[in-house]
Symmetry: C2
Subunit: 102 residues, 2 copies
């Protein structure tokens, strides 16, 4: 398969709350308390999603005393952009390819 997209990474991003977290972190590095305020979600719930994002390499943690800052890693998002862009380009290039009926 020429062009492939990392399904696991997309799955991580394909959750409303996680996408909201990512969008917030794209604007500012925040700690869990801020995210609780911004999203209105329970701390436990956020911690679970942050764990998923952390294990997927989407965010980095930076301890600051009792607080834990979360920072988005733009490279990961750019990876997704690159994969989908390649996919779209392939689709454009092969727009007229059609396999004949069997």
């Amino acid at each position: 398969m020429l062009t492939s997209v990392d399904t696991d990474l997309i799955r991580v991003l394909a959750d409303p709350l996680r996408l909201q977290i990512v969008t917030l972190l794209a604007q500012e590095t925040l700690c869990t308390t801020h995210l609780v305020e911004e999203t209105g979600a329970k701390q436990t719930n956020l911690s679970n999603h942050l764990k998923v994002l952390r294990e997927a390499g989407v965010v980095e943690t930076e301890p600051c005393g009792r607080f834990t800052y979360y920072r988005l890693r733009p490279e990961v998002i750019e990876t997704v952009v690159g994969q989908f862009a390649a996919l779209a380009e392939t689709a454009r290039a092969n727009a007229d390819s059609k396999r004949s009926c069997p």
Copy 2:
């Protein structure tokens, strides 16, 4: 929220089989029979996923006698690319923004 990503669209693409379908359709317009051969999935299962992709506007159908051709719509993929690219750009621009501890 300045930059937002269409969660529903990402969710549709965040399935291994659907992503495989999209990747195959990016290279060639195919009908269901071809997809059954390529993916090894059951026809019913594929039909379900194709319905999801159709309702999300990711693919178009083109009847051809008894066959139904599926064609990928590159615009939709490019929409995803644009949204994630904007997100990545925002993250780059605000890489040093950090909200102070409460």
